[in-house]
Symmetry: C2
Subunit: 138 residues, 2 copies
């Protein structure tokens, strides 16, 4: 079981926290009334996916004792034009240092995609999503 909490600060700003005392500010762009003080929620979906795969890839390449010196993900998400403007396509551009053999990098990405990455798998197999609503001391 994973848990996070969000608290409303004001306007469209929230603070999110995990069970381990990490916290971050989320906000949104001025066009829709935000103050741009933190990541937009939609962008955190891309960070979640890339972060999950990136950690798998580092782990896999290190187990092979390959000389990983740099790893960069540039992630692009294309959205539908109409509400709810979901992501229709996500492109992950993954770049390592040149000493990592191409086949090993490709194999690490495949293993993450097909076997290990919980976020990729959640995006491909929709979870059930439930709501409970309460007010005040209810």
């Amino acid at each position: 079981m994973r848990k996070v909490a969000l608290h409303w600060i004001g306007n469209l700003q929230f603070v999110a926290a995990d069970d381990n005392k990490h916290s971050l500010v989320i906000d949104t762009k001025q066009e829709v009334g935000g103050n741009e003080t933190g990541f937009q929620p939609i962008d955190l979906l891309l960070v979640s996916l890339a972060g999950c795969m990136a950690m798998d890839i580092v782990s896999i390449l290190r187990k092979k004792h390959l000389d990983l010196k740099s790893l960069v993900f540039d992630v692009e998400g294309e959205r539908a034009t109409e509400h709810p403007k979901r992501f229709t396509k996500i492109l992950l551009k993954i770049k390592s240092n040149e000493e990592i053999p191409r086949l090993d990098l490709e194999r690490a990405v495949e293993l993450s995609r097909d076997k290990y990455c919980s976020v990729f798998s959640t995006l491909k197999n929709p979870p059930e999503i439930f709501f409970q609503m309460n007010r005040g001391e209810e």
Copy 2:
């Protein structure tokens, strides 16, 4: 088009950045070799979903000139026991101050779920996900 970038710092630690100069550290738990210096990627999926819905709900309740004083999301994600340990169920517990009529809170949640929330919609309608791999100056 939304864009984020991730740079590997060391061990299983990365820094993620958006196009607006916001950044955050991601890491993972010690059991799998991390140093717990930041949010886990899987938890950011919950933050992304809750943040998206929370902003919708604030916007909708304010348009109705309701006296929103507090809004808290407690989010729980249940994972499969086997790799890739995807989220099978996500529960969003949403709590406002007691002055918000129950029906208005429920209606705001429904509107976000069914019409506005891009993250909810992405989780329910899998996006296409593509990869490009490069090494060094390629």
